[in-house]
C-alpha cells in the first residue's frame, strides 16, 4: 500500500535494504533495541495499530535450495505493527512469544524508514547487531570445524590382485 510502484531496480534495492534491516531487528535482543530507542528517540510516540499477536507460521523448505518445496514445520512468531506520530508504519516479526521484543523491532523498523534517522539507526542499532551475529556465527562455525573428522579409505592389498 505505501509502496508505490516505481522503476523496478531502485524499488528492489529499497526492498532488499528494508529486508536486511528487518531481519536484523528480528534477531536483536531487547537491550540492543530498547537502549538506542530510549536514548536517541525518547519521544517517537509509537502507537499499536493491531494488538500484538502470537501465532504460527509455516516454514517451507527446499532440499539443496532448488528441490520441490515442502512444509518443514511450524514456528511460533509474534507480530507487532506500530505507527509513529510522524506517520511511518513499522512491522516487527520475531521468533518466539516475546511481545515487547516484537514491538521494539516494529518501532526500529518505523524509525529506519525516516530518511533523517536512518543513519543513526544503522550506526546505533544495525551495526552492533550485525557484528554480534557475525561473531556468534563465526564462533559456532569454529566449534563445528573443531569436531571435523576426515574419512579416508585404506586400500587393502588383496583387492588389487
Amino acid at each position: 500500500m505505501t509502496n508505490q510502484p516505481q522503476t523496478a531496480k531502485p524499488a528492489n534495492e529499497a526492498v532488499a535494504a528494508r529486508k536486511r534491516a528487518m531481519g536484523l531487528f528480528a534477531r536483536a535482543t531487547v537491550a540492543e533495541l530498547a537502549e538506542p530507542i530510549d536514548r536517541l528517540w525518547p519521544n517517537c510516540q509509537a502507537r499499536d495499530l493491531k494488538p500484538i499477536e502470537t501465532g504460527l507460521v509455516m516454514l517451507r523448505g527446499r532440499i539443496g535450495g532448488d528441490g520441490a518445496p515442502f512444509n518443514a514445520g511450524e514456528a511460533t512468531v509474534t507480530r507487532a505493527i506500530v505507527e509513529l506520530a510522524s506517520g511511518e508504519r513499522g512491522y516487527g516479526h520475531v521468533l518466539g512469544r516475546d511481545g515487547a521484543r516484537a514491538r521494539l523491532a516494529a518501532i526500529a523498523d518505523a524509525l529506519w524508514q525516516r530518511p533523517e534517522a536512518r543513519g543513526d539507526v544503522e550506526a546505533a542499532m544495525l551495526a552492533p547487531i550485525a557484528e554480534r551475529l557475525a561473531a556468534e556465527g563465526a564462533k559456532t562455525r569454529a566449534e563445528t570445524a573443531a569436531t571435523r573428522v576426515e574419512f579416508f579409505t585404506l586400500v587393502r592389498g588383496e583387492d588389487n590382485t
Binding site: 499499536d48 495499530l49 493491531k50 494488538p51 499477536e53 505507527e83 506517520g87 508504519r89
Partner: protein, 199 residues
C-alpha cells in the same frame, strides 16, 4: 494515521460473527453490534465491525464511489490494512461490497449472483446509512421468519421491492444484503420474500 480495529480481535470478531449469523438466520431482527469502533468517516461502526469480521485475503471487496469521494483512500486503506482483502475492480467481481444508502444508488443487479454450480460465489452487500424504524413498512416472509415479520428501514431505492423480487426470482442465485445503521445490523438473505411499499 490509521485507525485501530478490534481491541480484542478473537472475542470481538466472534461475537460480531455470531450476531451476523443470527441476523441472517432470522431476517428482520435487529442486531446491536455494541462495539466502540472508530473507523474513518464515512464508514460507520456497525459496517466496519461486520466487514472486519467477515473479510480476509480471499474476499475481494468493492467499495462504492461515494466513499472515495468523501474521504479519498481512507476507508479502503483501513479495511485493506486490517483484513488483507484485495479490492475488486468491478462490483460483479466482488465477494463483499460496501455501499452507502444515502450517497449511492443501490442496484442489486450490478453484483455477482453466483453461478449454477457455485451459488455461494455471490456478492454480500453491506449497505450502511440505514435508519431502522423509519420509512414504509416492509413485510418479510420465508425461511427463518415465523409467519411474517415487519421491517422498517430507510432510505431504500424507490424500486427496491422490484429489484428484490428479481433477485429472489433467481434463487438459488442472487445477492445477500446486510443493512447497517450506526450501530445495528439487519440481514436480508436472498431466500427472504419482501412485500409492502418501500419509500
Amino acid at each position: 494515521m490509521t485507525a485501530p480495529a478490534f481491541a480484542d480481535p478473537v472475542f470481538q470478531s466472534q461475537a460480531v460473527f455470531r450476531g451476523i449469523m443470527r441476523a441472517m438466520a432470522t431476517p428482520g431482527t435487529i442486531f446491536d453490534v455494541g462495539l466502540a469502533l472508530a473507523p474513518p468517516a464515512p464508514l460507520t461502526p456497525a459496517a466496519a465491525a461486520a466487514l472486519l469480521t467477515l473479510m480476509d485475503y480471499e474476499t475481494p471487496l468493492w467499495i462504492a464511489p461515494s466513499f472515495a469521494a468523501a474521504s479519498g483512500r481512507a476507508v479502503a486503506d483501513y479495511l485493506v490494512f486490517h483484513t488483507g482483502a484485495p479490492l475488486a475492480r468491478s462490483p460483479d467481481k466482488a465477494v463483499f461490497a460496501l455501499v452507502d444508502l444515502v450517497a449511492d444508488e443501490l442496484r442489486l443487479a450490478d453484483f455477482a449472483p453466483g453461478s449454477a454450480e457455485y451459488p455461494d460465489r455471490s456478492t454480500t452487500i453491506l449497505a450502511q446509512g440505514a435508519a431502522f424504524g423509519e420509512g414504509a413498512s416492509l413485510r418479510l416472509a420465508g425461511p427463518g421468519v415465523d409467519g411474517e415479520a415487519e421491517l422498517r428501514a430507510a432510505p431504500l431505492p424507490h424500486d427496491f421491492l422490484a429489484q428484490w423480487a428479481a433477485n429472489r426470482a433467481r434463487f438459488p442465485l442472487g445477492v445477500d444484503l446486510i443493512l447497517a445503521s450506526e450501530a445495528e445490523l439487519v440481514g436480508l438473505p436472498r431466500s427472504v420474500a419482501i412485500s409492502g411499499e418501500a419509500r
